[in-house]
């Protein structure tokens, strides 16, 4: 029987901030999304105040200022560094794991003596806390779907002290847990699906476990049938070693200020295109076409304009300069003066891997020039990786970026900036 564990960091972003600023400990704290829009991570104390995930900051600001609520802008460089540390520690505990998101990883524990697995995971949990300061919970079970539920129990039920192993529970104990868990707590069952399941008598995990798989497969999907099999302890979803390369890469942001002029739009579109091209190069793929869009705020009283345009490229490319040129060419055609723009974005479509890159027989670019473009990008990526992002960039990106997103409450790069380190006497 395979054994999976899911390690999940508790309130990850909020916990990262607290490691480097102990004053935040035991305080109601929310981390805001890009542009300080809404709450994307909450400390336990913030949850206790009744603050929901995704609550907009402008509402929270007024309602909870008296409760001492603290808000911070998201510091993704810090969270990524802390996440990498956790992943690297996981590697000391099992060679087979899948990084599922910035704060979650599945571990395969096949071949470990079953009676030692709980202790092994508890040791991992304690090591992560000691080495990084981050509290984590671990759920263990025979399938990934069950491991997710076990993690939920590890987090919500204090009696498990952060590590819950379904394989060590009796069928009676498991039934009691499943009867208490609403069906939408299951991995892959969202609120919409559960709204359809509830009327036909499936309200808890227990109900779904004993539902007729065949009927539900016909009525809903084969994915749901697979979920039922997984809840019954038969593993159908294995570890994914590396996520499959993305078919499209998007880089879009809202602006921090009102943008009306084309120069600012050009700068932002250049930046987003550079980012997208960098991502494409990282996963070694080339775009067949590029889409640029710009839009004004649909919810304001000002005149509304939104437009997008896609250009197919003569041959697949991930060259920053070629893509920026194309993106700006599109932008000039999309731009209409007299509007207050709120958002712009760049999407690279129909990505093909390096190997499957089909060169254009007619395209007037010799292989030599093509190699030069590749070399140039390699130089740019290498320099930017060594000396920090934005060291080398396309000049049309501009140097001041006044339109950049609002991050009024961002903490320093505690692990990525010499001037941002913890200070102590």
């Amino acid at each position: 029987m395979p054994t999976f564990a899911l390690l999940d960091c508790n309130n990850f972003y909020a916990s990262c901030e607290t490691v480097f600023n102990p004053k935040l400990k035991d305080k109601p704290l929310v981390i805001l999304s890009n542009n300080d829009g809404c709450a994307v991570s909450r400390s336990n104390e913030a949850k206790a105040l009744g603050i929901n995930m995704g609550a907009p900051w402008f509402q929270l600001k007024n309602r909870f200022s008296k409760s001492g609520l603290i808000a911070l802008s998201s510091n993704y460089a810090l969270y990524a560094d802390m996440s990498n540390r956790v992943v690297s520690l996981i590697g000391n505990y099992t060679p087979d794991y899948e990084v599922y998101s910035i704060d979650e990883a599945f571990l395969s524990l096949d071949g470990f003596p079953p009676n030692k697995i709980t202790a092994h995971c508890r040791d991992l949990k304690n090591t992560v806390l000691k080495h990084t300061g981050l509290p984590v919970c671990v759920g263990i079970a025979s399938t990934k779907t069950l491991a997710k539920l076990a993690n939920h129990c590890a987090k919500k039920r204090p009696e498990y002290a952060g590590v819950c192993n379904f394989n060590e529970l009796t069928p009676q104990q498991l039934d009691a847990i499943f009867k208490a868990l609403p069906v939408n707590e299951i991995w892959g069952i969202g609120s919409r699906l559960s709204a359809k399941l509830n009327p036909i008598g499936i309200e808890t995990v227990f109900d779904l476990k004993h539902a007729h798989s065949r009927t539900l497969r016909d009525k809903f999907s084969v994915v749901l049938a697979r979920t039922i099999t997984e809840i019954n302890g038969e593993s159908c979803i294995g570890l994914e070693d590396a996520p499959p390369p993305k078919q499209t890469i998007a880089s879009t942001r809202s602006f921090g200020i009102k943008v009306t002029d084309i120069e600012s739009l050009k700068e932002s579109v250049t930046l987003y295109t550079s980012r997208a091209a960098e991502k494409a190069r990282l996963q070694k793929s080339h775009a067949n076409s590029i889409t640029v869009f710009i839009q004004t705020n649909a919810f304001s009283d000002l005149p509304y304009y939104s437009n997008a345009f896609t250009v197919s490229l003569p041959s697949p490319t991930n060259d920053t300069r070629l893509l920026v040129k194309t993106a700006l060419w599109i932008l000039i055609r999309l731009y209409r003066p007299g509007y207050v723009y709120q958002k712009a974005g760049v999407i690279l479509n129909d990505l093909v891997p390096d190997a499957g890159r089909q060169l254009d027989l007619f395209f007037d670019e010799s292989p030599v020039k093509l190699n030069k473009r590749d070399d140039m990008n390699l130089v740019m990526d290498t320099i930017n990786r060594r000396y920090g992002r934005q060291t080398l960039k396309v000049a049309s990106e501009g140097f001041k970026a006044p339109w950049k997103m609002k991050q009024d409450h961002k903490t320093p790069g505690y692990t990525s900036d010499w001037n941002g380190l913890i200070k102590a006497n």
Binding site: P22, K23, K25, R85, S88, L89, T127, K130, H131, T132, G133, V311, P314, K325, T326, L328, W329, F362, F363, D364, I383, Y387, T391, L392, A395, S396, F399, Y414, T415, W418, L421, I422, K423, A424, N425
Partner: protein, 198 residues
């Protein structure tokens, strides 16, 4: 009646060479019917590339690039001049300061020293202390501690009653006794420090 023709012998008739979407001379050609759209699509792309090439390259400004890191090779023997060096076979890995200072990569963080309290232990303002969270603090270690929410660098000691006490390495600073009700945590152990002179 002879139809009007533009094939008269006047030199340079029609559009001047190269003044079209492709930026070069063009010629009429025969194309199989089924391939007309293919050729037209291709020509559109050529025109697009041509238009893109004409986009103005905005002026380029300089940016500061950090100084290059100097790597010091370590040789296991001296080099004899004028003779093919036998040491070539023995060149070893360049020393890396990170490897020297950092033991547990995942658990190591850096802290900027801000005050004089650890002066006599060799930690001066602006020095960077290397802090390893994975180490268990022992009496006598310099630690990064959190006292009532504030970070502090001190030497860990024990009182006669067996309570932790934080000692400064500078007579101008009093020891901090940790009493019940105080929030106290050892964040990590200081394993080394860095100072730059230039």
């Amino acid at each position: 009646m002879v139809p009007a023709s533009n094939t008269d012998d006047k030199p340079g008739p029609g559009r001047p060479e190269g003044r079209n979407a492709y930026g070069e001379a063009t010629l009429p050609i025969r194309v199989p019917k089924s391939k007309i759209t293919v050729v037209q699509d291709y020509l559109k792309q050529c025109a697009l590339i041509n238009a893109l090439d004409a986009v103005d390259q905005s002026q380029i400004q300089g940016v500061d690039v950090p100084k290059r890191r100097v790597k010091l090779p370590l040789y296991s023997s001296k080099v004899a001049a004028g003779f093919p060096s036998p040491a070539d076979d023995h060149i070893e890995k360049r020393l890396n300061i990170h490897d020297y200072l950092v033991d547990q990569d995942d658990a190591t963080f850096m802290v900027t020293v801000t005050g004089e309290s650890m002066r006599d232990a060799g930690l001066l303002p602006k020095d960077i202390a290397i802090v390893d969270r994975s180490k268990n603090a022992a009496v006598g270690n310099i630690v990064l501690a959190v006292v009532n929410g504030e970070f502090t660098l001190k030497q860990l000691g024990l009182t006669e009653q067996g309570k932790p006490i934080l000692l400064a390495a500078n007579p101008a600073f009093k020891p901090i006794e940790i009493n019940d009700g105080m929030e106290f945590e050892i964040w990590g152990v200081v394993t080394g420090s860095i100072r730059k002179f230039l």
